[in-house]
């Protein structure tokens, strides 16, 4: 940990999308990751992918069951409000977030994802500096810049008994 690299280069972000995910935010994330020398995988309810807000198609790398958050260094939640009904039924989506939180990972989210936090047992006053709103392309970029820290170790005492 101490000898940590303070860079996200060579690391991987897991991006959870649904139909209707914001294409602009996704684009900003990808560009920032590319600049950082990092990679990403797209996780969607179905492996075929999802249709973004602007009608473009997002190819998925994993369906939600096949891409648990343990496979990524940090996660971004980009679901659209309309898709939340289904996502809240899916325990893998809940685990995706609950594990990312428990493993002290950075979590970027759009407002539509907030109900998933509740489902994952993360109350609003549990939110810490590692839970970052990425409501705009600009916010998405600064989220990626902050990933260099790799983990939010300050969270650990709150998710693990002494």
């Amino acid at each position: 940990m101490e000898n940590g690299p303070e860079r996200f280069e060579g690391r991987k972000l897991g991006i959870l999308v649904t139909d209707g995910s914001d294409a602009g935010i996704l684009k900003a994330l990808k560009a920032a990751l590319d600049k950082a020398g990092a990679t990403f995988e797209i996780i969607a309810p179905k492996v075929t992918g999802a249709k973004a807000s602007d009608g473009s198609w997002i190819d998925a790398d994993q369906m939600i069951d096949g891409g648990p958050s343990v496979l990524y260094d940090a996660v971004a939640l980009l679901p659209a409000a309309d898709a939340m009904g289904d996502l809240l039924l899916e325990s893998s989506a809940r685990d995706f977030l609950a594990d990312a939180f428990a493993h002290c990972k950075f979590i970027g989210y759009v407002d539509a994802a907030l109900p998933l936090f509740e489902k994952a047992g993360i109350a609003s006053d549990d939110f810490d500096e590692g839970c970052i709103s990425i409501a705009s392309a600009k916010a998405a970029k600064s989220f990626v810049d902050g990933l260099a820290k790799l983990r939010v170790w300050e969270r650990e005492p709150h998710v693990k008994m002494p």
Partner: protein, 542 residues
């Protein structure tokens, strides 16, 4: 008599399966036949094969004929596909690359690869876990092997290291015991790839020399995020020897360019289910997408005088020389830029051996290293099956070589010509070279022949403690959690208590935390005695 037919396939019809056109045989089986670009399937003897879907029978429903040489050869070969897995470090993954020398180290060593700045030496590196079998998971809590083969112009040099700078034991004679204890228990054959069981901790709790290593193995280093984010260490003290036959002691360190990174235990457990090949996939993907992992080789260099003054014995592989006392100097970089074309041919058949050193690199008397120098050659005969394992391309030197070794199973190249011995009067064949050949550093050694552990090896706790207190609060709590978890899987309370008695010598807070959380109901109340710090004198055995 069965009706004779001209061809095995009586009537073949073309069928389409989604996007593929094939032929269909009598029994509905599908045949893909050679045409266009596809080459003709042959036996291993080169004979073309007409039908690879049906064995030769008497009539369509009759018995299979012994004369079907294609069938017999195919099954025979398949039956013998497996070779024994490595007795340790069975699960591993490797890549090709190169080592680039920053600047000449001629002052310290005559090793050819260190003479010229910018020199690139081909390399093959295999990462591994220690305890699990070949098919075990990547995120076991375990030491990682970090074995580097450098194909130098004066022979292969293998730095067979780990991602932790110390080891469990001080003398190679204990290695079989250590490995037996950590591997699955012999009666139940479980647990697989886990140190969290009675036998391991029983052995450890009776092996105080392992305590420093135990601190490292319980730290985050034992659950790395990726092979790319690990350090590597040669562990032992070696020697560099220059053309004037002067020796400098050396320890080898590999520092990852992208830094160190680990996962947390709860995550590791889940990764093992979600992607048991997590580390393999990570290395494969990185290299295949042009993100070549890189390490810097750094050396800790010191002389006899430093060794004499250092508070621990530099021949003791359970000790480090702290980098604050002796900063390592960068001497080159290792880049991995190509995955093997075939896993078995290269990664499985590669044979690393500590005794592979070129002129200019030499051993120290570290009794663990001395024993390894026997073991690694010996084990290859079992695993690869022939003394000719150096003929396998991944093990063959990439420099000119010549010797009179011949014959044996699977000899690929024998000496050519009349002469296969030396001296000879025909003027043929290679000859020894006192100038270029490997000459050991002429260290003066004397003493009584005895089975004796040096007293200078007897402090088993100081560096364990130093390591523990050097960790951040978060890292310390990971160590406590790891010990708690491991001991929670130990059924026999006395073993857990014994471990706590060692921890008391390392750090009292750690000891009481582990005792409290897992170790035992009894030692919560009992005033625990730390176990004796220094070895009580045991008479040497003849």
């Amino acid at each position: 008599m069965a009706k004779t037919t001209k061809s095995t396939r009586v009537t073949a019809r073309t069928v389409t399966i989604h996007d593929q056109k094939l032929e269909r045989g009598e029994g509905g089986e599908l045949h893909q036949t050679a045409s266009g670009k596809a080459s003709v399937l042959t036996t291993a003897q080169g004979g073309p094969v007409s039908d690879d879907q049906n064995s030769l029978k008497v009539g369509p429903r009759g018995p299979t004929l012994l004369e079907d040489f294609h069938f017999r050869e195919k099954i025979f070969h398949f039956d013998h596909e497996r070779i024994p897995e490595r007795v340790v470090h069975a699960r591993g993954y490797a890549a090709h690359g190169f080592f680039e020398t920053y600047k000449s180290l001629a002052k310290y060593t005559k090793a050819d690869l260190f003479q010229r700045a910018g020199e690139k030496t081909p390399a093959f590196v295999r990462f591994s876990t220690v305890a699990g079998s070949k098919g075990s998971v990547d995120l076991a809590r375990d030491v990682r092997g970090f074995a580097v083969k450098l194909y130098t112009q004066e022979g292969n040099w293998d730095i067979v290291g780990n991602n932790i700078p110390v080891f469990f034991i001080q003398d190679a004679i204990k290695f079989p015991d250590l490995i037996h204890a950590v591997k699955e228990e012999p009666d139940s054959a479980f647990p697989q790839a886990q140190s969290a069981h009675d036998n391991f901790w029983d052995f450890i709790s009776l092996t105080p020399e392992s305590m420093h290593m135990v601190m490292w193995v319980m730290s985050d280093r034992a659950i790395p995020r990726s092979f790319r984010f690990m350090e590597g260490f040669g562990v032992h003290t070696f020697r560099l020897v220059n053309t004037k036959n002067e020796s400098t002691f050396v320890k080898f360190h590999w520092k990852p360019k992208l830094g160190l990174q680990s996962v947390v235990w709860n995550e590791a457990v889940k990764i093992n289910g979600a992607d048991p090949d997590f580390h393999r996939r990570d290395l494969w993907t990185a290299i295949k997408t042009g993100n070549f992992p890189e390490w810097e080789l750094q050396l800790q260099l010191f002389d006899q005088d430093f060794a004499d003054k250092f508070e621990f014995d530099v021949l003791d592989p359970t000790k480090i020389i702290p980098e604050e006392i002796l900063p390592p100097v960068p001497v080159g970089r290792l880049v991995l830029d190509r995955m093997p074309d075939n896993f078995f041919a290269e990664t499985e058949q590669v044979a690393f051996m500590t005794q592979n050193v070129p002129p200019g690199i030499d051993f120290s008397n570290d009794p663990l290293l001395q024993g390894r120098n026997f073991s690694y050659l010996d084990t290859q005969l079992k695993r690869l099956g022939s003394p000719n394992f150096t003929h396998i391309p991944i093990n063959a030197p990439k420099c000119p070589f010549a010797h009179f070794q011949q014959d044996g199973h699977m000899a690929m190249r024998n000496p050519i010509g009349r002469v296969n011995y030396q001296p000879n009067s025909f003027g043929e064949g290679p000859r020894e070279s006192p100038q270029r050949g490997f000459t050991p550093f002429p260290e003066v050694v004397e003493g009584e022949k005895r089975r004796l552990r040096a007293e200078s090896f007897a402090d088993h706790y100081s560096q364990a403690r130093q390591f523990f207190i050097s960790q951040t609060a978060g890292e310390q709590s990971h160590i406590a959690a790891a010990l708690t978890f491991e001991l929670s899987k130990v059924k026999i309370p006395a073993i857990r208590e014994r471990m706590v008695s060692h921890l008391l010598n390392i750090d009292e807070t750690l000891a009481s935390k582990v005792a409290d959380n897992s170790a035992c109901r009894r030692c919560r109340n009992l005033p625990m005695q730390p176990c004796p710090r220094v070895r009580i004198s045991i008479l040497p055995q003849p």
